[in-house]
């Protein structure tokens, strides 16, 4: 039973230990939390769809080391992100910033909702204008 429990725990919580460094980067839990948060905001450019917190690639390890050193040197979040984008461009940010090239990406969900809403409104208003007594349309009451 104990073994089963251990196996379940390892399966459930083991992923948290994956890929990231062998030891915590900072003794201070606040700094460690900040480190982990920033690592999740930076992309590993070798593997593209992973953050440097998730990736085992050499480049991700190098960037984590760089992140630790920048934090230890007392750089602000903004300075660290600037350091990374100066070298790797906006693509290094896991969450793309709003720029002329990306506005469509950010606006797409809103545009789709508005577009869908318009189509729905047109269809509903047209249907509601149909006479209720239309024999071809059994209406909502019929099933």
């Amino acid at each position: 039973m104990k073994q089963l429990l251990l196996a379940a725990m390892l399966t459930l919580f083991g992923f948290q230990a994956l890929a990231i460094d062998k030891a915590p980067a900072f003794e201070d839990p606040v700094q460690q939390a900040r480190y982990e948060r920033l690592a999740r905001e930076l992309r590993c450019l070798q593997c593209r769809s992973e953050t440097i917190a998730d990736s085992n690639a050499q480049l991700a390890a190098d960037l984590r080391r760089q992140l630790r050193e920048l934090m230890a040197a007392g750089k602000s979040d903004q300075e660290i992100m600037q350091y990374m984008t100066d070298r790797y461009g906006d693509y290094v940010l896991y969450k793309p910033p709003v720029t002329p090239r990306t506005w469509l990406l950010w606006a797409a969900p809103v545009l789709l909702v508005i577009g869908g809403g318009l189509v729905a409104a047109i269809v509903i208003s047209r249907k509601s204008k149909l006479p209720d007594t239309d024999p071809a349309d059994p209406g909502l009451g019929a099933s």
């Binding site: 190098d62 960037l63 760089q66 984008t85 790797y88």
Partner: protein
């Protein structure tokens, strides 16, 4: 009429997006370094850990910086092309030996030939980060004014060199931006 035009129009827009999406080169990331001053580094020389090399020694000269490692398959692939480009002698090629072991790298040069005027040893990849390196091999062209003119990611070939680099050489040597 609108009933048919609208879906067809939307479909056309979608096809357009997908078509350009497919055609785009998603492997090569644009380098923010283009047009900016090349990051200055000072590292030990690959062939002699007691000596250092800095790219500031090349100030006023155009050069190519090639990022390589003995672990890198693409570097082996491009090595013949680099030897040929070095043989032509249009511009010196500086090697940045990236995330490598010194001994393995020296063996590699001995076996395959050495196209580099000098190789700087970046064993822990710090200089690579300054240059925005994300996957060797990468090849940079730096002008006489110290600015990065071009970056090529993936193995270089003699054809790519002739088509994309050689036309930039006179500008690189003149040092105009």
């Amino acid at each position: 009429m609108l009933k048919y035009l609208l879906p067809i129009g939307l479909f056309a827009v979608l096809v357009g997006f997908l078509y350009f999406g497919l055609g785009r080169d998603k492997e090569t990331l644009p380098s923010p370094l283009i047009g900016k001053a090349a990051p200055v580094f000072e590292l030990t020389r690959l062939d002699d850990p007691a000596k250092t090399f800095s790219n500031s020694e090349l100030a006023g000269k155009a050069y190519v910086l090639n990022v390589w490692g003995s672990w890198c398959v693409g570097c082996r692939q491009e090595h013949g092309a680099l030897l040929e480009i070095a043989r032509r002698g249009e511009v010196p090629i500086v090697g940045l030996n990236y995330n490598d072991e010194r001994e393995a790298a020296l063996n590699w040069l001995e076996q395959l030939g050495n196209p580099y005027v000098v190789s700087a040893f970046d064993g822990d990849g710090r200089v690579g980060i300054d240059w925005g390196v994300y996957g060797a091999p990468e090849t940079f062209l730096v002008g006489a004014n110290g600015k990065v003119i071009k970056k090529h990611v993936a193995p270089i070939t003699v054809e790519i060199w002739e088509q994309e680099f050689v036309p930039l050489l006179s500008q690189a040597k003149a040092g105009s931006p």
